[in-house]
Symmetry: C2
Subunit: 464 residues, 2 copies
């Protein structure tokens, strides 16, 4: 049950890779937050020591229960606190005296409901003991590799994504967690998730900086309503954004939305224009919707930088080819023009009713072999920078081997490649297989085109 | 095996409610289009007579196979033709001599590949015998109530939606069919689907007119690349659009997309601006994306007309409340201000930490009872025109009963109501139940807001 050796380099590492955890407020009652959190640690793959803390319980799930962290005979790296707000200062003080370096305060009832004095009491205790804290009023951390999971939502209601390379910072806990649930269903992966709530100590800037140096994270996604320390965040963003893509979606972009924010997390949401301009100036990538946020992230996390904006479209459905073309152009991307050499060699191998142009419509009797030849030609042609493969899997002549052919081509290609495939359950299964092998898939052309545009923009930003 | 009595009022009825069908080109080989179509009619719930036509086969699936429709001893209402293009004129002439009123020509190889002469031959035969024809170069018709299903894609690869009240006309067969597959997975329903390909005889205008008088169709959706007879279509649209919503998405909106169209269906796609302006002037509702098309359709098919643009938002997640507010305002809708009477009565029954405003955040410990009270109050309040219920089903205090409560409220409400719920499999199951009882559901705020806006716009159009 002991975790392997872990070098703690940064104090924030204790949040994500603790060797031992105290669950303060652990409970026998399945309706209590502390119950669900304790179960997450016991059943969710966490390999370190777990200490339930509750003055009333003798043992929980066969583990000895301690009345206070002070009674635990060993070292504790992380405490997860879900006791009622008025009890939090006392608990924090005990954590500090025990020498616990990091605390996640799940409990609400602080600044967000006007209880700023209680919040400041907590801050004084945290500073006094030189602890680091995430929260309060948050759902905390999910780290699929280490098994840290402070979500108080059971797994049957809220699935968890597998380990990946996209990190997600969300000010809102509910929003962040339902998005993870959706990601898990889609087969999208995650490196780290943090909901930081009122940001009493650790804020968005520090988290972004931490993730920038986290080797398991390739792309950083953020949902913010207001920024705790705007200037610090923008300074961090400026340093980080040319190395690692930071994609941001901002809640509270209208006046009415801003008013809704103030009663949600108590933070002040600035106007959309101000934030948008600042994000972009600092090199951040702005997403318009939550879906777009993860569309961008999947492509940026898996695909190489394109050399230019010329896209070759390969399709077995004319209508989807037309819509994809429309959306590529709408996003200021261009249709690639294959070299004469490529065109003449494709003419030799493709049937006469396939016209070699862009979109390259392999038509409704397309085979895996035709796709393979068209993709290989696009990879080899110097006039092609990115490849958009539309595969309507439903056509009778296309077998499921198409998935292996596309994955293998994507593996050996130094050009970005994405797949557009719309349909029902049969299609979704094939798309999940593609996602699993690192090929981003999209149901609809408009989303694929927007994601390729984000990839292209970041490649220019990174080169600049 | 005989169909009940059907009154054929309109000649196009034979396409959708035939009492007998000849499948011309029926085949033993599962890879042949004629094989799949024959199976659809035999296994998909069609209750009329089915006659396989193939000069080479003695019997198919235990049915006697005729060498020509002329040899069938009884009346035939519909012929589905999937023989190679050069054989089509001969087959059509036989259909005409047999007195078959309607023919769906699935076969390709006509105008779309430059074979206009063959196409004109077919037209002459059709006119001579006063037949009506859909196609060629199409996938034809799907009518879930009568069991007509000419798709040449097997059901395990391409699911079919259940009977509903949304009709879909698609110039592109592949695009239309994968969209149906996706609709089936989502639990969305359909009244009639028509892919009309080259529109040699029956065109988009006539289909729209037919659907306008079809009692099972409440909303008409269209995917067009180019219009066969633009003026005729706009004239029809002008007559239809104030009675029944007609939602349109146009492929080929950019110059490059237009060029892609020309090699797809051989039709000329006009510029986006020209079409957009004409659609709107004629009262059509333009959708930006395929998803939006069906988002609009679901809301327009199930929800009553709102009296105004004031939306009450009810939520259990602050972040989603904020994003929803942003998108409502972005779509020129307004936040409703509940009357003082409603506010004070809600104050009495809701816990003190729930602040009565808009969005009404029932918070992360929301119960079904709280939702019920908030929804009832919104239905009763004269200052509320539409209701957007955000239900993050994952929170521990919310049971699955929420689905029944929302469905029942929606049933008795004369105000439009939609549900926003994002998440994984658990959430998707609850959403499907809501869809089944006629409550439109959305994963994300931006889509819900755009659909409410379409509903509001149509209500003004219809009143005007």
């Amino acid at each position: 049950m002991r975790a392997g050796k872990i070098n703690i380099m940064n104090k924030l590492d204790y949040f994500f890779r603790p060797r031992s955890v105290a669950v303060i407020g652990a409970s026998r009652s399945p309706k209590k937050i502390g119950h669900v959190i304790l179960r997450n640690f016991l059943e969710g793959g966490f390999r370190g020591k777990v200490y339930p803390i509750n003055p009333m319980a003798g043992s929980l799930f066969g583990l000895r229960c301690y009345p206070s962290v002070l009674k635990v005979p060993r070292r504790i790296d992380l405490a997860v606190v879900s006791v009622p707000a008025p009890l939090v200062p006392k608990v924090l003080d005990e954590c500090g005296r025990k020498g616990i370096p990091s605390v996640i305060i799940i409990s609400g009832g602080f600044g967000e409901v006007g209880n700023t004095e209680l919040e400041q009491d907590c801050l004084r205790i945290i500073r006094k003991h030189r602890m680091r804290a995430i929260g309060p009023n948050c759902i905390g951390v999910y780290e699929p590799s280490s098994g840290v999971d402070t979500f108080f939502l059971p797994r049957y209601k809220l699935e968890r994504p597998k380990p990946g390379s996209v990190a997600f910072i969300s000010q809102s806990g509910a929003l962040g967690s339902v998005v993870l649930d959706w990601m898990a269903m889609k087969g999208y992966r995650i490196s780290k998730f943090i909901s930081y709530g009122n940001a009493l100590d650790v804020d968005e800037a520090e988290l972004t900086e931490y993730l920038a140096s986290d080797s398991s994270t390739k792309v950083i996604c953020c949902y913010f309503e207001g920024l705790k320390h705007g200037r610090r965040f923008y300074d961090t963003l400026r340093k980080v954004s040319s190395r690692k893509p930071v994609i941001i979606i901002k809640g509270g972009r209208t006046e009415e939305g801003t008013r809704a924010v103030s009663s949600h997390t108590g933070s002040l949401a600035g106007s959309r224009e101000v934030h948008s301009a600042a994000f972009r100036q600092a090199g951040g990538i702005e997403a318009g919707t939550l879906e777009e946020l993860f569309d961008f992230a999947r492509v940026l996390a898996t695909q190489p930088s394109p050399k230019g904006n010329r896209v070759q479209v390969i399709t077995d459905g004319g209508g989807f080819g037309v819509l994809t073309t429309d959306w590529l152009i709408h996003n200021n991307l261009a249709l690639a023009g294959m070299s004469r050499k490529t065109v003449s060699s494709l003419k030799k191998v493709l049937p006469p009713h396939v016209v070699i142009k862009n979109p390259l419509d392999l038509t409704g009797d397309a085979t895996v072999e035709r796709y393979s030849m068209a993709i290989d030609a696009s990879i080899a042609d110097p006039n092609v920078d990115m490849i958009a493969v539309i595969a309507l899997f439903q056509i009778p002549t296309l077998t499921a081997d198409i998935v292996d052919v596309v994955s293998a081509a994507s593996d050996r290609s130094s050009k970005p490649m994405i797949v557009i495939a719309a349909g029902g359950r049969f299609t979704e299964v094939l798309k999940k297989t593609l996602e699993d092998s690192g090929v981003p898939t999209f149901s609809y052309p408009e989303k694929a085109a927007a994601a390729l545009k984000a990839l292209y923009d970041f490649s220019r930003e990174a080169r600049a």
